[in-house]
């Protein structure tokens, strides 16, 4: 809710929001890259209530339902929208039209997506930025071990298809 005469923007829980330039946000995250995971998780937590507000807690959530709920929460802050992909068993979140394209911001959004997905689904999950597609950021949603592995390979320039090929289900033989 924008209460412009009083100079306030608030969410539905009367928590204040601040509209800042996206470039400024990217610069800030770039200077505090070590804190990207912490800040991203905090952002995801703050968005969780808005995502939950459009979901039916009594029903089993489909990927489309979750994608819609997360898109509502992100779009209301001008952060873009999301959709999901499956690469084999690997589940990825594609962050469409994010407000920045830097690596630091991608790491922050990966942490945000993991926290948001975990909060909505009730399943703890990690996130790793594993590549880009145009202006979109692809985030792998998996265990912390798999995400760390994927993050390292992505920084070496490997494509996500190559990264996924290096992942296997537990109990499978290489």
């Amino acid at each position: 809710m924008a209460d412009l005469p009083r100079g306030r923007i608030e969410n539905r829980d009367q928590q204040r929001l601040v509209a800042v330039p996206a470039e400024w946000l990217e610069q800030l995250v770039g200077h505090a890259r070590a804190a990207a995971d912490t800040v991203g998780a905090a952002l995801g937590e703050s968005l969780e209530a808005e995502a939950r507000a459009v979901l039916d807690p009594a029903s089993e959530l489909s990927p489309e339902d979750v994608a819609y709920a997360l898109s509502v929460a992100l779009a209301s802050r001008g952060l873009g929208t999301v959709e999901f992909e499956r690469w084999g068993e690997a589940l990825t979140l594609v962050w469409r039209d994010p407000p920045g394209s830097g690596d630091a911001l991608a790491d922050l959004f990966a942490a945000t997506a993991a926290r948001l997905v975990g909060g909505v689904s009730g399943v703890e999950v990690s996130g790793a930025a594993v590549g880009r597609e145009g202006t979109s950021i692809r985030v792998l949603l998996a265990s912390s071990e798999a995400c760390e592995h994927a993050r390292d390979r992505a920084r070496r320039g490997e494509s996500f298809a190559e990264i996924v090929a290096q992942l296997e289900r537990r109990g499978e033989r290489a």
Binding site: M1, P5, L61, S71, S76, F84, E89, V125, A165, R170
Partner: protein
């Protein structure tokens, strides 16, 4: 000039006043920052820099926002009866005589025109005691042709001089008295006052609608996005590839959590 023409001219003036109100706002947001105007408030009552209203009567200016009147010369060359002997002479020549008592018929046709400057002083029939006789002579000289140019500026109504300062009396109500009814009162239908009030009311409503539109927050309406949209060529490189069936999001997430790096 008939009532319809007067009304059209007044509406033009009103539109300019509204436009002038909107000009100082540097940004479009500014209207949303202003408190909402109630529908009953006349828009001209809060117009900054607009000329103060002046009634076309020999009384002190009233609070009603009436556009300033300006005297125009008579339509016909035939002068009023009590100034018939001075048809060719300027009115200022009467300064040495007792001031005449002018009736409405004596005055030129009163017309509602826009003041040049936004903060221009409104004309008044009350004598100020300071207008120079020369200006009266120039402004009220009755030319020989039938339609002389309009008298401007509005100070032309100062019909007095220092020696003979006496207010002019108008015997009957002026033709064009624009009054805005107080909030809660219906305007007089069929009259100029009602038409002017209607014009002000319409302009106020239009302004409110504009403010309401500009203050409406943008509502995010994202589309519902479907699931996987992966190129087939890319999928061919993915091993093993498991086709997604109708599974819940939780199931898909738990399967992804079972992945680990190959050794």
């Amino acid at each position: 000039m008939n009532n319809a023409q007067r009304l059209a001219r007044l509406e033009t003036l009103l539109a300019r006043v509204v436009e002038r109100r909107s000009q100082p706002r540097p940004v479009r947001m500014a209207p949303a920052l202003a408190p909402a105007r109630t529908a009953s408030e006349p828009i001209a009552a809060s117009t900054h820099g607009a000329p103060k209203p002046a009634p076309i009567a020999a009384t002190p200016p009233a609070a009603a926002p009436v556009p300033p009147p300006v005297v125009t010369p008579p339509r016909a060359p035939t002068p009023p009866s009590n100034v018939a002997a001075e048809t060719e002479a300027p009115i200022a020549s009467r300064a040495s005589r007792p001031p005449p008592r002018l009736a409405v018929d004596d005055l030129p046709d009163l017309d509602l025109v826009e003041s040049e400057a936004a903060g221009a002083k409104s004309p008044s029939l009350v004598p100020s005691g300071k207008p120079p006789a020369d200006s009266m002579e120039a402004e009220f000289e009755i030319p020989s042709h039938a339609q002389p140019p309009r008298v401007e500026p509005p100070q032309a109504l100062e019909l007095s001089d220092e020696a003979n300062a006496e207010p002019l009396e108008i015997d009957r109500a002026p033709l064009a008295t624009a009054t805005i009814p107080p909030p809660g009162h219906e305007p007089a239908h069929g009259s100029i006052a009602g038409s002017i009030a209607g014009a002000f009311s319409a302009a106020a409503e239009a302004l409110e609608e504009e403010q309401a539109e500009s203050s409406e927050p943008a509502v995010a309406t994202p589309e519902r996005y479907a699931g996987p949209a992966v190129p087939a060529a890319t999928l061919a490189r993915v091993v093993p590839f498991v086709r997604a069936r109708a599974r819940t999001f939780r199931e898909l997430l738990e399967r992804s959590l079972e992945l680990r790096p190959r050794r």
